[in-house]
Amino acid sequence: MKLLKNNKDGWQYEMNRREGDCLRSLLNQFPITESNHAKISRTCVEPKTVEREKLLNESMSQHRNDLKKLANNLMSADKLKAGQNGCRLLISPEEREILFQILNDIRVGCWRELGEPENLEPKTSPPSHKELVFYNLMNLAGYFEHSLLKQ
């Protein structure tokens, strides 16, 4: 994956066909995991905090629904263009942020499904098929995050 252009109008990346297929497949599967209950405080237990936490989780649930619609938009032909030798991704700065949020939702979601391991390599050998799927998706999302940011 290679950055071709970056200006105020947006970002343009080039990737090979395999990368394009993987990205499309990842976005297509979002959300891969159930949403997790988010905590707003680690120390506070007063009623206001409970109310704030409820609001946070409602807001995040809504945001996830919005991301699902936006994920479909990112896969549209004018954003992810298939060419002769590969794919071109043309996204605005806002869409790039949406893409990061979707990719990291997948990455963190898979990590949680794996039991939030400290070591990100499979601990059992060989891992179960289900575990292997989560490890692969987690790593794939990380690969795209890193590729989008490294340049």
């Binding site: 680690r42 506070c44 990291n104 995050e145």
Partner: protein
């Protein structure tokens, strides 16, 4: 009969300023980002730059603090603003909370 002339300058009326005790002030909160093994360092730096408008150097300093010390206090704000930042950070799936400052 002697007359008493009015002084040229009158003493100023003393207006007692109302001061507020510490308890009356609106509570403030620390917005804290906690370490985890899953979020990429380059990603955390990017999110800090986006949400707080920090330059790369400042964002990296806080990211390294999260990584090495387990957490970093990002900002101190009133309840509403702190809540806003926590929502933003959690939308990016960073482990962020707001904790009372006092």
């Amino acid at each position: 009969m002697p007359t008493i002339a009015e002084p040229a300058t009158k003493p100023k009326r003393i207006v007692k300023k109302e001061t507020r005790s510490k308890d009356d002030l609106a509570p403030t909160f620390y917005v804290i980002c906690w370490n985890d093994p899953i979020n990429l360092m380059v990603y955390v730096t990017h999110v800090f730059m986006k949400i707080f408008g920090w330059n790369k150097q400042k964002a990296q300093k806080h990211m390294m603090e999260v990584h090495e010390k387990g957490k970093s206090v990002l900002v101190r704000e009133g309840a509403e603003k702190a809540e806003f930042y926590v929502h933003q950070l959690q939308n990016y799936k960073l482990q962020a909370t707001m904790e009372p400052a006092e």
